[in-house]
Amino acid sequence: MNNYPAILIIAPLLGAFFAGLAAWIQERLSYPLALISLALSTFASVNVLMEVIANGTVHYRMAGWAPPMGIEYRIDLLNAMVLVLVSSIAFLNLLASYQNVEQETHDRAASFYVAYLLFVVGLLGVVATGDLFNLYVLIEITSLTSYTLVALGDRDRAPLASLNYLFIGVIGASFYLLGVGYIYIITGSLNMVDVAGILPNLPGSSTVLVGFILCLLGVWIKMALFPLHVWLPNGYTYAPTAFSRVVAPLMTKVMVYVMIRLMITVFGLEYIFVTLHLSEAVVWLGTIAIVFGGIMALAQKNLKKMLSYIIVCEIGYMVGGAWLGNELGMTGAILHIVNDALMTFALFLALGNIVYKIKDVDYSNLSGLFGKMPWTMAGFVLAAFSIIGVPPTCGFFSKWYLILGAFEAGAYHFAAALLISSLICAVLFFKVFEICFFAPEGNGLSHDNSHGHGDPVIVMDEAPVASLVTLGIVSLALILVGVYSGTIVNTIILPFLR
């Protein structure tokens, strides 16, 4: 019996409780326990992906009960890919962030790791499950841990940011739950495939429509689609580094996955695009999100907040792409889940390294960074190029699919927004590079160093080795995923869509 689908989520869950118990005996034990459990989880999810590619969809019955009665893990190509993404990013981030946790939350590091593991368990469970209600329970776990961990950040502003996040997040989760309630009462089932089998027998049902829209709204709130994004920028800016590094790349992307899963597996593309005609309105919403996210990012004076607004902008790409209603757009959206997770992870890794050395990342403090942290900045530049969409990096390829999809669907406004946002990102990042590279070392420091002749001496002061190595691995992944994106599309995304 192949138990990998269960192990990939049970390993971090057990790890969380053992790490919690270990903390009462010897606090240092928590970190290695957390690391081991995430390594196991990554191993299991890679195995699941191999198996899915080789033998097709994996079904795993929890407690051994057949699907509509019990809960089933149904892992197809899309899940398996996102599972590998989630578990590996969570593992790499934990590897990289030991020093950051020690620096920021020293007195409660062990509890931090426990909450971190539970957060990852939630994300993995959301992705792996084939049951609508089980999905809700796991959204609850991710949300609860992320409210907690966000509040642990900046002493003054994080609690308020977290409270805002909590209010809006709870509304989002309730919308989703209410939607599931409507669907249950009309179909009598919670299993996704089972529900998908029953829904076509209920044409024109207002209950199904309301259920669908409620689920969708809930997921949109959770993924911070404009104008439901207000919780995100502050939440991610003031969260502790080790957590913002994992929540920024994963949380929103996992919710995009949930949306695509609801669209394709539960309600069916025909219902959405043919019966409801929602495509155009939502693509417009995506377009507005892209433009608005870009403009708001331009207005920021703080590197962390700027990157948070770029996430809002990127969500517009994926939502718009998924709702274009053609294969190219959907391919682009799914590929962009992977690419954007990697790019955002690389950006936030670099950002975390910078925060580790200079606490405050206002633009005015960034001068001289290329000399001070050359390796970190190299990774940052590569990730920035990927966000802008420069060819060998992965960001280019998903954008290419999205633009092709937009042209095929005749959504020229969406294509234009994609191009404009590339331009905005270029402006944004080159502004940062300019400050980091050319601006003189500020605040009188330069005057002390430069008596008489030439430039001030900039001492190299890099972040911890573990963080740099991780950043190196992710940067490599950015290029590799870019180069092999054709393979990913042909072996995973297209077989899934057809």
Binding site: L13, Y60, I71, L118, E140, G188, S205, T207, V210
Partner: protein, 274 residues
Amino acid sequence: MKLLGFIIVCLTGTFLLYGTSDLPDWGDPNSPASLHLSNHYIEKAVAETEVPNLVTAVLADYRGFDTMFETAVVFTAGLACFLLLRDFKPKEDRYYRHVPTGVVLHFKDKARQLRVGTEFEAVDKDWVPSDMVIKTVCRILIPFIQIYALYVVAHGDFSPGGGFQGGVIFGSSFILLAISYNLKTLMKRVSEKFLGIFSAVGVLIYVGIGAIAMVMGGNFLDYSTLAPLLPVNPGHIRALGMLGVEIGVGIAVMAVMAIIYINIVSQGRHDEGL
């Protein structure tokens, strides 16, 4: 802004009502919810699990995986309270009460401390002696509350009840102790370490039973594979598995109730709050 909010609320309400226009009638025996899965549970659950209470069978077996994560949610709530509220800073002022005379000493110097023992006990500024009537009544009540809690946990698979309810009742007996005496009395009996460990152990029992089932060659949480481990009738093993799981839930909920209460009333300082 208020008007805008009002309009949005009205629109949402109309939308929700629109959704109900297509709902099956209240209590309709032919509604999908009572035809599709319910029949299977009602007809087969007792035969398949040997648990007389159908609700428990659905909760702890058919959908046991959900319940496991619900327990994890409870644990997370306790963890969140600990993580955000717990204040490790040493207290500024210290107060000690001389037990035989009731005289309270106030130390403003942080460095100086008294040995707390039979002669002196540490008290807090806001400390008020409790009323004897309240103390006596609660002292008599608490053991009965706790026994009742154990009964609710143990009886979960026969009648309404189970781990969540039993755990809450047990936890409330701790809270009653803290209210009627004071927080220190409670913390003397159940320390922070005890609660922290038991909240994790409770969930660990649940996940552990599932994991053992996996080691024994079944799927995760498949209690039927536990049969070789226990000297019981193999048909009854699912009911026993559920009982074990309910006990885990009960322990976790009990500990988390106390953790949440202690951290919130004392704002994480673990001295006299309310």
